[in-house]
Amino acid sequence: MLLNEKQIQNEELNKEFLRRSGVDVSKCYQCGKCSAGCPVGDHMDIPTNKVMRLAQMGLIEDAMKSSAIWLCATCSTCTTRCPKGVDVARVMETLRIMAKEHGYVAEKNVDKFHSVWMTIVGTMGRMYEPGLIVGRNFSTGKILQDTQYGVPYIAKQKLKLVPYKCKNMDEIKSLIAKAEAMDREERGNK
């Protein structure tokens, strides 16, 4: 497809991206320092500087389709060392949130992990690791992953069998609902 046509197709997405990230991606001059220092760089389908390039060219859909945005561990090495002061980690984070909302999830397992996490926090108020592992395994279909640690964890009394549930769950539930509503509002706020 012609580049200019593709850019026109991405216009709305690009506006949304720029507004929600608040990052001036035009500052990027493609030195590659972000990719060079990225601890997950080896595993990404496209290096960080190419994600930046896609964002810079307004090709948000392609950027959202990448696995790189899901593998980013948010360690912020890229942001810290960027010679142009670009918040690269924020770009990755915004693309990840947008990809989920727009239905592009290149790394299903990473996404499911986050979903399970948020569900547990939403019901218990706190994290409950056995629930996280079991929940993740069921949703990813890898039933036995990490279960070898279960027994020694319990033996070492590192996992509580009975989870703590926050007393004020009503407050936490309303907080999450309000925050999610605000995030939705921001998404629609064009």
């Binding site: 590659g32 320092k33 990719s35 060079a36 290096p47 500087n49 060392r81 960027c82 010679p83 002061g85």
Partner: protein, 668 residues
């Protein structure tokens, strides 16, 4: 009776596309004082100027307003234009409707036209109150001062001296030579730097028209173009220059040791030293910070004195002190050069703590035959020859977050040069260069870069380095090959960083001393980026070399020559015209309060006694008097003056208020 001619310039489409010039001309046609008003495509062109001249004659105009570009651009042009037909050049005013109007209000044609009308009305109101002024004259001191004794300063001084004028070189270190004397080879010809610099140094030192003032600092600059009074601090050398023969015996037994700055602290030097063997003057100085005698004196003792015992000429003088002296110059050339960026701000490159991560200038000393390693390329840590060398470009350059925003211009070439030198010296050593862009505009420069890759087998990797860390004896360099889209890690024995060029740390203070401008980074500002590259905004002060911005040797030498021509043109005159826009005191009104005297930065105002007849008697009273050759026309005194007797010619109270009123009137 004022008869003002108004000429509105379209500047092609520069103004015309935004401002409706015909409407502006029409709008002021009946404005008080205006006798003639018109518009034209290019007012500054030959026909445009003729149009003004003809209108002056035909309509008997006695004042002219041109509305066009900035007066900083064409005020001179139009003043000359009206002068040619007999009008006093100070009966002319400009309205800036380009830089201040059409260029900054693109697309807002209606508002911009309204603004242009306002600006023209202001200029007309002012010009109606202009008065005929005559330029004054001042003598010229036919001698120049060049500040800085690097290659730019030396070349500039030689060019001035060869034109027959006296010139002094002021150098703060003990020897002239500058950064070029530290460099081993020059690109793209791989000439030995010392071999081409040393003859110039000798020529400068033996030239009958050149005086070297080394180990001295610029303390104060007073006066003005043609007549600068420069105070120089000659630092205590502790060696009597008139007695010293430069034999060097004094240095042989000196027990005091200090880091050798000339060799980038890669070795030690003695406390009494000459910075390098070819130094000029080749006479030592005592570094009082590291001299045992001076150190002991601080503790109330007085030891050592070996150098004095060794000196056969009796030239050592521990009691010398700094001396201040004042010299007169007609022109000043700033050639203070640059410094190397300190890479210790980069934590990811080890905060400068790894001994085998060095800068480009360190490498020049390492590879120099008279350097600390006799020209053997070895690691500073263990003196082993490196088998893998990584070079990193743009360290401190093009990095607005942690370094400087600009490109240092020279690094691409010096990195290529150093890479080929490593391959020449150590053919088994692998060399990698991390780069963002290769910028090699210059005669035979790009060819050199390509030879570096093709013939010398240096691997260029496009990407910035994210981290360098020590692992065992080696340094792991973590970068990205952005062309491959892959991370790369290289285990290096030596890492050479191409550090940015930065101004001298005290360049801003120096600019303030001399009274010239400097930019956000501290580089001295030229008067015009294209058409005034060696002039400054201060008449009589010129720039040569890297003090104006990063430059390589050929550019520095070329600029030095250009500055020399400007200096010679200035010194060739017997008298200089001076601006008549100076303060004047109306003695009838002056009460002699003297408040203006301390306000004047040029000490141009004095109180003097006048005699006058009053009631049939002669009485004496005090009034302020302005020395018009000292006054520079700032106007500070006019505001301080209570009686309103002090006024600044061409910017009188009446003139400025006329502009204010004209503007406010348009609001009704």
């Amino acid at each position: 009776m004022e008869r003002v001619g108004v000429f509105i310039c379209h500047c092609g489409s520069n103004i015309g596309a935004v401002v409706d010039c015909a409407r502006v001309a029409e709008a002021v046609r009946n404005y008080p004082g205006v006798a003639y008003s018109t518009d034209y495509k290019y007012m500054c062109s030959e026909p445009g100027q003729e149009m003004i001249q003809n209108a002056i004659k035909e309509h008997n105009l006695n004042r002219v307003v041109v509305a066009s570009c900035s007066p900083r651009m064409h005020e001179k042009t139009f003043r000359a234009c009206v002068e040619k037909v007999g009008m006093n050049p100070y009966m002319f005013e400009m309205a800036n409707i380009r830089e201040h109007c059409s260029w900054v209000h693109a697309g807002k044609n209606e508002e911009a036209t309204e603004k242009a009308i306002d600006l023209v009305k202001m200029a007309v109101s002012k010009v109606c109150k202009n008065e005929v002024l005559q330029k004054g004259h001042a003598p010229v001191t036919k001698r120049a001062l060049v500040v800085g004794g690097g290659i730019a300063g030396i070349q500039c001084a030689l060019d001035i001296a060869n034109n027959g004028y006296q010139v002094d070189i002021l150098e703060r270190t003990p020897s002239i030579g500058g950064k070029m004397s530290q460099i081993d080879k020059t690109f793209p010809t791989i000439d030995c730097s010392a071999c081409i610099l040393t003859p110039k140094m000798v020529e400068a030192s033996s030239h009958p028209n050149i005086k070297l003032i080394t180990f001295a600092e610029l303390e104060k600059v007073e006066g003005y173009v043609g007549n600068f009074d420069v105070t120089i601090r000659s630092k205590a050398r502790s060696v009597d220059m008139s007695k010293c023969t430069g034999c060097g015996t004094c240095m042989t037994k000196c027990p005091g040791k200090a880091d050798d700055e000339f060799n980038m602290k890669l070795r030690k030097r003695t406390a009494i030293y000459t910075p390098f063997p070819q130094a000029i003057p080749n006479k030592p100085v005592i570094d009082r910070e590291s001299c045992l005698k001076f150190k002991s004196r601080k503790e109330g003792k007085d030891v050592c004195g070996i150098c004095a015992k060794m000196c056969p000429a009796g030239a050592i003088d521990y009691e010398q002190e700094d001396e201040l002296f004042v010299e007169k110059y007609g022109a000043i050339v700033m050639a203070t050069g640059y410094e190397q960026f300190d890479h210790s701000v980069y934590g990811e490159y080890g905060y400068g703590k790894y001994p085998d991560v060095i800068s480009g200038l360190h490498f020049e000393r390492l590879v120099n035959a008279s350097g600390p390693t006799q020209g053997h390329i070895v690691r500073p840590s263990d003196h082993k020859e490196p088998k893998t060398v990584v070079m990193v470009k743009c360290v401190g350059s093009r990095d607005p977050e942690h370094g400087k925003s600009y490109c240092s211009r020279t690094c691409c070439m010096y990195t290529a040069k150093q890479a080929t030198m490593i391959r020449d010296h150590c053919p088994d050593t692998k060399v990698y260069v991390f780069y963002m862009d290769v910028r090699t505009p210059g005669k035979l420069y790009d060819e050199f870069y390509n030879r570096t890759r093709e013939e010398y087998g240096v691997d260029y990797i496009r990407g910035r380095v994210s981290k360098i860390y020590q692992e065992g004896e080696q340094l792991i360099v973590k970068g990205e090959d952005t062309l491959l889209g892959q991370q790369v890690e290289i285990a290096a024995d030596l890492v050479i960083l191409a550090n940015a060029m930065i101004p001298n740390p005290d360049s801003e203070k120096m600019a303030q001393t001399v009274g010239i401008g400097y930019d956000k980074d501290g580089w001295f500002t030229e008067s015009h980026p294209k058409l005034g590259p060696v002039e400054t905004h201060t008449a009589g002060v010129f720039l040569a070399g890297a003090c104006q911005g990063p430059k390589d040797i050929p550019d520095s030498v070329a600029q030095a020559g250009a500055a020399a021509v400007k200096v010679c043109a200035l010194l060739s005159k017997d008298q200089l015209e001076t601006e008549p826009t100076v303060s004047v005191v109306d003695t009838k009104l002056c009460s002699g309060c003297g408040l203006c005297v301390p306000v004047c930065p040029y000490k141009a105002i004095t109180l003097e006694t006048i005699q006058e007849r009053k009631g049939g008697k002669t009485v004496e009273r005090q009034v302020a008097n302005v020395n018009s050759s000292l006054c520079q026309g700032c106007g500070a005194c006019t505001v301080t003056c209570r009686s309103g007797s002090a006024n600044l010619k061409h910017f009188t109270n009446a003139q400025i208020l006329a502009e204010v009123d004209a503007l406010c009137q348009t609001m009704q």
